[in-house]
């Protein structure tokens, strides 16, 4: 009853004040809106502008004068013809196609092992999460040292082989690719494990028991109850890793610098090299913009699928 009275009073008041309250709201959020304008909208506009020019910081003119070097869509047409760009993009997708499923399967397997209690579970759980806490640059140096010709990996291989093994891991194009992928899987499987375990623990115990009492085997229960119940969290985990993996840089750059040749050059390393070494910023702006747009489209699609599956499940 009190609520009714309050509502009845509040309604006409709200109508009178709508314009004032809107203005107040606007002025209160203005600083935040300006901030967003400067950190998000402005750089993108700047990037679009520069991407349409041939500007480089070595040209001796400031970036806003870049229109003097206007070249229309030449950067974009160059991009289509740039083999190195396509090879870096293809390599990034390949890294993603190997790392994300590997991390997912390993994380899922570990989650299955850890979902039930066993002695030492808490300790092992903490140990397994350590790689995720290591700074990627440090992880890069760790793997750089592990894979040296005189490094521990070769030492272990020598032990089993019975004769000295001196594989030059990081100088061979195929082996270097294997080494950088190993470092990524080592570092990010724990994140998958953490997210998937949280999802698996959340599967209702009674449903699993009900399924068991109906005669379902472990594999049937896993396929029909556990996985469908984890669908949303699996999509989230995969989306996080796909987006993160696309941007992979630190450990790859430290281990191989993208080499030998371009054997481990991903799109981030490619952009970094073109920016820092070749200094053709107009072109880099175009590349980065294309990547940003394609990644946004992929993410938007994933988010849409995610909300659809949440409605359905």
């Amino acid at each position: 009853m009190t609520a009714d009275i309050l509502e009845a009073k509040a309604e006409p008041v709200e109508h009178e004040d709508t314009r004032d309250s809107r203005r107040l709201g606007f002025s209160l959020t203005l600083p935040a809106q300006l901030l967003i304008l400067f950190i998000a909208v402005f750089p993108i506009l700047m990037q679009i502008y520069i991407s349409l020019t041939d500007w480089s910081p070595l040209d001796g003119i400031s970036w806003w004068q870049a229109h003097q070097l206007w070249n229309g869509f030449a950067n974009y047409t160059d991009l289509v013809a740039d083999d190195r760009f396509w090879s870096a993009l293809w390599r990034t997708v390949l890294v993603m196609a190997i790392c994300v499923p590997a991390e997912f399967l390993l994380g899922l397997g570990l989650a299955i092992l850890f979902v039930d209690n066993f002695p030492g579970r808490g300790f092992l759980y903490s140990v397994l999460l350590v790689p995720m806490m290591v700074v990627p640059a440090v992880a890069g140096y760790m793997f750089f040292m592990l894979f040296q010709s005189g490094g521990p990996v070769n030492d272990i291989l020598s032990f089993f082989y019975g004769a000295p093994v001196t594989i030059a891991w990081l100088s061979d194009p195929d082996l270097a690719f294997f080494a950088v992928i190993a470092s990524d899987i080592w570092q990010w499987t724990p994140l998958m494990f953490l997210i998937l375990l949280a999802g698996m623990v959340g599967v209702p115990e009674d449903q699993l028991r009900a399924a068991t009492l109906l005669g379902a085997s472990w594999t049937t229960r896993f396929r029909t109850i556990v996985l469908p119940r984890m669908k949303t969290i699996i999509i989230i985990a995969l989306a996080i890793r796909v987006i993160e993996n696309f941007k992979v840089f630190d450990n790859f750059y430290i281990m191989t610098g993208g080499g030998p040749g371009v054997a481990t050059e991903t799109i981030s390393i490619y952009i970094y090299k073109v920016t820092q070494q070749e200094l053709i910023w107009g072109y880099v702006a175009a590349v980065a913009l294309v990547i940003l747009i394609s990644l946004s489209v992929v993410s938007a699609f994933a988010i849409k699928r995610m909300s659809q599956s949440r409605e359905a499940g």
Partner: protein
């Protein structure tokens, strides 16, 4: 083949004893309710029958078959969970078909059995609907159907009505009893609600603190409780238990109830078994008292509780607190001292020390 035998069944969790020395024979096709307050061991018993937990001691046999080491997926037991445990990511059809599918029943047969079951439980129009968001009564029927479709010889129900509102509970009690008659299975029903146990079960097993206290037909357990716990637990309000001392007078035993006065002589079979000078509880049901102008127990009225159809009158205090149920026009007021006549044939006497009933049924 489908009788359940529980022999010296016991379960301990660490230092906590959840169940001790439980012996119970449940006949083929019988509906037995395990009744007791929370923590009495009834769910532990049920979970052991289902194979969810292993007994610490004793044995469970289904017919002649010892169930030790038989995993729950092979026990052929239907189980309805308190929260129904419906697979909410599946449709009604998929829920019903789950067990048949998991055990590899061919599609044509599966389809036919699902449709038969859906028809029987009035679920046919809902078959293609997702099971998430269905109302509680439908979820419950679905949970029963999902288990029943496997044609289990034994059906276990774990407080299936505790999430349902009072009005619907009455409907479901009738429906469940009807279903049991149709399916003809051995049913074990766990509940803390005596009304459910009384209305549905062929026999009630009353439990408390991990012990089986009494087994019998609902009426027998109600009329002849074997202990003060059962006497007080069954009935709403429970049996009145007034503390007193037995005295002999003219060949019959009476009970001296202190301030309330002297009881009427106990009937012959009780007089024969109650020793003189013993400390006892004088027990009688709230519906077995009458107001009288003549001789009777004299007690002050402390509270008059009018619940519509009936009026519950609270009298006396502490050791001689008594509740009586009268019709709703009973002319009593707070503070008034009334005289109560109690039908001697409905009086029960319990040993005050052990709590056990003295003398058998009349």
């Amino acid at each position: 083949m489908t009788a359940i035998h529980l022999e010296n069944l016991g379960k301990t969790f660490g230092s906590f004893t959840a169940l001790k020395n439980m012996n119970l024979e449940i006949a083929d096709g019988e509906f037995v309710a395990l009744l007791g307050p929370s923590g009495c061991g009834k769910s532990t018993t049920m979970n052991m029958i289902a194979g969810m937990i292993d007994p610490s001691e004793g044995a469970i046999r289904f017919g002649d078959r010892d169930m030790r080491g038989v995993p729950m997926s092979r026990r052929g037991v239907g189980f309805v969970f308190q929260n129904y445990a419906i697979f909410t990511h599946m449709t009604v059809y998929e829920n019903l078909a789950y067990g048949l599918r998991a055990t590899g029943v061919a599609k044509a047969q599966r389809d036919r059995r699902v449709h038969d079951m859906a028809e029987f439980l009035h679920l046919t129009p809902l078959l293609k609907k997702p099971s998430a968001g269905l109302s509680v009564n439908i979820l419950q029927r679905l949970a029963i159907g999902r288990s029943a479709i496997m044609e289990p010889a034994i059906f276990l129900l774990d407080e299936p009505l505790s999430n349902v509102d009072a009005a619907f509970r009455a409907v479901m009690r009738t429906e469940l009893k009807h279903l049991q008659r149709e399916f003809r299975q051995t049913m074990v029903y766990v509940t803390h609600d005596q009304l459910e146990a009384m209305t549905m079960a062929d026999r009630i097993a009353v439990m408390d603190h991990g012990k089986l206290l009494q087994v019998g037909t609902p009426i027998d357990v109600y009329n002849n409780p074997s202990s003060v716990f059962v006497a007080g637990f069954l009935g709403s309000p429970g049996m009145n238990l007034v503390k007193g001392r037995s005295v002999e007078a003219g060949g019959f035993i009476r009970v001296d109830l202190g301030e309330a006065g002297m009881s009427t002589p106990l009937p012959a079979h009780l007089s024969a078994s109650v020793p003189e000078g013993a400390s006892v509880f004088y027990g009688f049901r709230p519906e077995h008292c009458e107001l009288t102008d003549g001789e009777g127990l004299r007690l002050p009225v402390t509270f008059v509780e009018r619940i519509g159809a009936r009026t519950i009158v609270h009298m006396g205090s502490d050791g001689s607190a008594v509740k009586c149920v009268f019709d709703n026009r009973v002319p009593v007021r707070n503070g008034e001292v009334v005289s109560l006549a109690i039908d001697p044939s409905n009086v029960r006497v319990f040993d005050a020390e052990t709590g056990a009933a003295i003398g058998g049924a009349n």
